[in-house]
Symmetry: C2
Subunit: 237 residues, 2 copies
DNA sequence: ACAAAAGTGTTCTGATTACACCCATGC
DNA sequence: GCATGGGTGTAATCAGAACACTTTTGT
């Protein structure tokens, strides 16, 4: 017992510290009547000219959230988006440079905050299109889409895709696109209005080159003040 | 243009490869009529004698899923549990040894698979108790509990806490414990039986030292075959 | 016989569905 | 006037909440 090895120190653990981290983001927007996500053409070795999710290697001393913000600021000019930590992707051989675990985020940006011009190596792609992305980015994209859809029905995240003032038909359109299903407009409208989550502004959308009654602008008021707070709980699957 | 720097190589990225990874798991069980989670007293420098979630540093060449399985096998004798990738925890100064990003899992183990004897430095703790855990493990625990509860109402994960054959009152008890609310037994029962998710076995639980009508054992049949598959979609918040 | 736990039935209410109808505008 | 998109009303149905009641056991 007295003959035990030397006390461990930080140095004892050196061999654990040979891994790298990166961040990637699936940034979703509602643009031109369809759902899109942001793509980046990689320019650095070893992925030159491959398309993938916006992302970067980070240094061990870099914070992941800040790294995402910096990435966004650099490329779309600001980081004013809704961000949610998706999960880590850690498959052993996911990256040719060595063991890199990536922290994936999914984000939502409202269309009024989408810049008119993107850097040359960025583009918006249709969320439903099939792209061959680099590394495991198709996998990350799928998981993000899954979480996005779950969130859409469970939490008021839609509003992050829309400006302060929006029209209900855009709200509905997003659901129809995301789930590829029709929405009963009358019932959707009644439910969302009666929930008090949105409030009418009295302003109306002027229409150009189309007719029909002008749509009223609504604005998001925050989550529902739980109406009833059920006494008994029950599963729902 | 011709004067550009040398082509980058793997070596160019060396400075990114100074980070470490770990895995941690919040393993939940339904034991002795309450919900518990597994705790480990750390024995290695620099966390000696601090209690935290079961977990370990992993080498850059180790797979995270395998690492969790090995951890479980070593300490509870098998890895036959339901596991779900929670997310990565990456705060800059979460670990005294340096930048270590941990991949957190949450897991569910059925009480018939819980070993009678645990290693000395492991114990089951009440899920609702307040412990001072090492590092950011309280934070990880909270996120795991949140996801556990979400899952309970959204997906048929409860069955992972119960043996092949179980009685409905245990099923209900888990919900009551997790949400600290009463469940209307009659309605719960009707809903779960009519869902065809569980099937009665014809076997009954013999009771010792208590009276009351014997409970029938049920068994899980798999997820509901979507009864109606709604035409129109609607949010639910 | 009675207490305790398991399991069933019935009523009432309110949410959800389906769909018909009305409104405001451009051409 | 009529086509188009926005917006409201209503009747029928169905799922959920509440709770009383029956069954089977131990003591």
């Amino acid at each position: 017992m007295k003959n035990k090895a030397a006390e461990p120190t930080k140095d004892t653990f050196k061999h654990f510290f040979n891994g790298a981290f990166s961040v990637d983001i699936v940034l979703i927007a509602y643009l031109d009547g369809s759902l899109k996500f942001l793509l980046q053409k990689k320019q650095d070795y070893p992925l030159v000219n491959e398309w993938g999710l916006p992302g970067d290697l980070i240094l061990p001393e870099q914070d992941t959230d800040k790294a995402i913000d910096e990435l966004l600021i650099k490329n779309i000019g600001h980081s004013d988006v809704f961000k949610s930590n998706l999960r880590a992707f850690s498959e052993l051989n996911r990256h040719p440079l060595g063991r890199i675990i990536t922290i994936a985020f999914y984000g939502l940006i409202s269309f009024d905050k989408v810049p008119n011009k993107l850097p040359e190596n960025f583009k918006w792609a249709n969320l439903e299109a099939n792209y061959e992305l680099t590394l495991d980015h198709n996998h990350i994209l799928e998981e993000a889409k899954k979480k996005f859809k779950e969130n859409l029905i469970q939490k008021p995240v839609v509003f992050n895709l829309l400006p302060e003032k929006f029209i209900i038909s855009d709200l509905i359109k997003i659901y129809e696109l995301a789930f590829d299903k029709k929405v009963d407009v009358a019932n959707f409208r009644k439910r969302i209005v009666s929930s008090k989550m949105i409030r009418s502004t009295g302003e109306f959308k002027q229409r150009y080159k189309s007719h029909g009654r002008p749509a009223e602008y609504y604005t998001y008021e925050g989550p529902t003040k739980k109406k009833s707070e059920k006494e008994s709980i029950l599963f729902n699957f």
